[in-house]
Amino acid sequence: MLTPLSVTAPASAPTAAIAEALSPTSATFLSIRNISKRFGAFTALDNVSLDVRQGEMVCLLGPSGCGKTTLLRTIAGLAKQDDGAIHAHGMDISHLPPQSRDYGILFQSYALFPNLTVAQNVAYGLNARRLSRTQMQQRVAEMLDMIGLSGSEKKYPGQLSGGQQQRVALARALAPSPSLLLLDEPLSALDAQVREHLQLEIRRLQKQFNITTLMVTHDQEEAMVMSDRIAIMQHGRIEQFDTPDRIYRHPATPFVADFIGQANWLPFQRLSPHQVSVGALTLTVDEAPRQHMGNNDHGRLFCRPEAVDVSPAADAANRFSARVVDQIYLGDRYRMMLELDELPGQRLMADVANDVRARLPDVAAQRMWIALPQQSLHLFA
């Protein structure tokens, strides 16, 4: 778009920077601004904003009723927002009908047309006026090859397994080359093995096509496996929008911490910027007081069960003696229910790998030392 007049190296860098700044499509493909949606007294979406980059895969994750499906349907034009705007490709699509928005969509129910063959389903969105018969057949063959279902052209959806049907639905959605792919819990109806396989397959095709993708799911593992970034939603709001790793290790809110993975919660009082008390214990923490804690000097302290150190060095910080109350076998690890001697009545979960547990000295005596590493402690109001 900007023709460089000079071919020297130093000049090209600022040119690229300018181009990126001028064209919103190069970075952000889909921009959602202050979307609100109410159903009567119920607020489904509360002032939601979200930017999705070109070629990125984003998951909308949250419990049922959090507004994730409503947000997806609003982007699809299947529901109408009360307020706010949606831009795709830098173009305002807020008020466009679904037909003019240029996306492909997958549903939990597949929504394949049962009376059409696989080939007819895939060809359904190909414009008969702009493509010749051979071009259409070629495109259908290409798509079926891509999903590994060549040879199933003449079958009806009812003759395919659930996983195969959802792959056909994916081929149908991608056949007209949309610029955006929307996935509405596409794998929820499938059993675990097929689901895991399709997660990787969809992710592979998404990368191959470099197609911007938004997926709704309530399965945190699925969101972790598939996304570049995850938007955790609750009560019609986005609680945190970040990479899977940061969401897991640095949850922004107690809700996110609780929703993703397991969590220990301990009530604390702040003693100094890096010291808190929990009951009779004094703990050292990394985190300085956070803004959202306001002036609160007490709250809840959060620690993942697998972050609990069960064989700490003698001089480790936050090291306490504990009694083993119960142990639950989880296959790849044990979950030990502990009670700290100085914190009676308060349970603490620690996830311990099988081999680590086998090496624990005092496990038979039901007593052990643990440490709560300060970098894995987070404070919430």
């Binding site: 699809a76 549903f107 929504a111 009806y156 009812g158 096509f209």
Partner: protein, 577 residues
């Protein structure tokens, strides 16, 4: 492979960026246009005629509020209260007779291993294919002045007993259908629990079966009562001096030109119909809520004594229903029942008799074909619009209400409404009066709700996301409707067609007020011939109607069924997997 996938023939930019997309939503516009058209139709052919009945009953001749004056005039008539009592009495008696019998019949079909269930079921549904005049005629031939068993009833068939038996025949299949569906829902786990606790069969019935079906029983009772009190086919033929409200309304309008009196009685008949309608809606919700999704289907086990008993019951009731039909058919084929039983087709020589002749029969065929074609298209498309598209809430709710309204309106009231509305000299649609078109319109409205519900049930079973998927693929809504929705619902569409055909073939109640000499119908000819004392030809015409209905039903079942199965290869293909 990679390169071909990454270089799709349709470039992204050509579709969405270069051309500024319009915010005009073609699909919404189409759906809205169709909905407003349907609304116009329902207002013109349903709402305004009903308003006209109200106006006729509540306003005086100058259009001013008449207050209670017409009512007090109606009540002042010394015959009025006895007539109400007779109507209510005979209808309640019908319900008390029919519901237990239909319950036994339905129980035999759903909960026992009696043989030939398909046959019993088909026989029990036969009355739906005959005009309600047929049982009246059959009763005359059985117990009337020329009856086979004349001395049994001693002439008292004309009146209470005749109406009771005739209405029982006419309403039996309606009650049966409700009870069949009520008894089809059973949770096997409850029966296992009951027998594990040592409950005997009577106790199990009392504590499990009966409570689970009480809504169905109540619903059947209300429906039979309403059908009986608003029907005037049977009492017209065998009522004799036992005058009831429905016949009185008919006489007031057709015989005496007392439109306001007819309208008032029509409004009275609307009360039980409206009540039944409301109760039915409430019952259906309760019935559905009762059955959890985890219920296990109950399959009856072999119990010889019970199965034998129910076979005998099924046989006896079927025989009684068949006897009525056989007598009417038989009498139409002999010279002079019961004295000269020589076979003859003389009663079928309709052109040499009063009542309309063969013209009436051909007219009925035209009406039935017209109603089923127009009705199927309008009602199914309407149901689809209501189920699968969203417009402004007011429009959607108005359509929904108007689609359910016909169920609450007896044919008699609808017919009166058409007279008052379309026959009004100031109505620009006045030209329709006396045409075949108005008969088609009236019949479509009369049978709207049942057909609508059939369509809704079928539409609810298909994936709710088809419209969204099709919009994302940029395919016009109507194209998906015709290419996907209609083929998927083909069995329901054909059932609607068959139902509309049979119903308009047999109906009398609404169209009796609307026919002209050129558009006289077969069922009306039956009434007129019976009035003129030509009972033989009346039986013959009833037989012809019945045979036509049976033929069309069988044709739809076998002939078209074959075609449908071929067109729906995907259905069986799915099952083989």
């Amino acid at each position: 492979m990679n390169t071909s996938v990454q270089a799709p023939p349709l470039a992204i930019t050509s579709t969405s960026v270069s051309k500024p997309a319009s915010t005009f939503n073609r699909d919404t516009a189409t759906a809205n246009a169709l909905k407003y058209f349907l609304l116009l139709l329902l207002v013109l052919a349903l709402a305004l005629p009903l308003v006209a009945v109200l106006g006729q009953a509540l306003l005086d001749r100058n259009g001013a509020w008449a207050g209670l004056a017409p009512w007090s005039k109606l009540i002042a008539n010394p015959n009025f209260f006895p007539m109400v009592a007779r109507s209510v009495g005979v209808s309640a008696a019908t319900a008390l007779l029919v519901v237990p019998l239909a319950y036994l019949f339905a129980y035999g079909l759903q909960r026992t291993l009696a043989p030939f269930k398909g046959l019993w079921r088909a026989i029990a549904l036969l009355p739906l294919l005959a005009p309600s005049l047929l049982p009246g005629i059959a009763l005359i031939y059985l117990f009337g002045n020329q009856g086979l068993f004349k001395e049994w009833m001693n002439g008292s068939i004309y009146g209470f007993w005749g109406i009771l038996l005739g209405e029982a025949f006419y309403t039996f299949p309606h009650a049966l259908m409700i009870l069949l569906s009520a008894l089809s829902l059973a949770d096997a786990r409850l029966y296992d629990a009951a027998s594990a606790m040592g409950a005997g069969s009577w106790r199990t019935f009392r504590t499990v079966t009966l409570p689970a079906t009480r809504y169905g029983i109540f619903g059947a009772f209300c429906l039979v009562f309403t059908l009986a009190i608003t029907d005037f086919g049977v009492p017209k033929i065998v009522g004799g001096a036992f005058s009831v409200l429905a016949v009185e309304a008919y006489k007031a309008v057709v015989g005496q030109q007392q439109f306001d009196r007819g309208a008032l009685i029509g409004l009275l008949l609307l009360i039980p119909a409206l009540l039944t309608f409301c109760i039915d809606g409430w019952l259906q919700k309760r019935q559905r809520a009762q059955m959890s999704s985890r219920a296990e289907v109950l399959t009856p086990r072999r119990q010889w004594r019970r199965d034998a008993l129910y076979t005998a019951i099924l046989l006896a009731i079927s025989a009684a229903l068949l006897l009525m039909i056989a007598v009417a058919v038989g009498a139409s084929l002999v010279k002079l029942w019961p004295y000269n039983l020589k076979l003859t087709l003389m009663h079928y020589d309709f052109d040499n008799m009063d009542g309309g002749g063969w013209l009436a029969y051909w007219n009925s065929l035209r009406l039935a074909v017209g109603t089923s074609i127009v009705g199927t298209i309008v009602i199914f498309t309407g149901a689809w619009l209501m189920e699968k598209t969203r417009s402004n809430r007011l429009l959607d709710n108005a359509l929904r209400f108007l689609s359910f309204l016909p169920m609450a309106v007896p044919g008699l009231v609808l017919g009166l409404g058409f007279v008052f509305f379309f026959n009004h000299p100031a109505n620009p649609l006045n030209f329709l009066y006396g045409s075949m078109a108005i008969l088609v319109l009236c019949s479509v409205m009369h049978f709207y709700t049942t057909a609508h519900l059939t369509a809704v049930t079928a539409l609810k079973q298909i994936d709710p996301e088809f419209e969204a998927a099709s919009a994302s693929l940029k395919v016009p809504l109507l194209r998906t409707y015709l290419r996907i929705t209609v083929p998927l619902c083909l069995p329901a569409v054909l059932e609607i067609f068959r139902y509309l055909f049979v119903s308009s073939m047999t109906t009398v109640s609404a169209v009796i007020f609307l026919y002209s000499p050129n558009t006289v119908l077969a069922a009306i000819a039956v009434l007129n011939m019976d009035d003129a004392g030509d009972v033989g030809p009346a039986a013959a015409m009833s037989t012809l109607i019945l045979l036509t209905s049976i033929a069309v039903s069988l044709l739809m079942h076998w002939g078209l069924g074959y075609w449908v199965r071929r067109a729906q290869a995907w259905r069986s293909a799915g099952k083989k997997h």
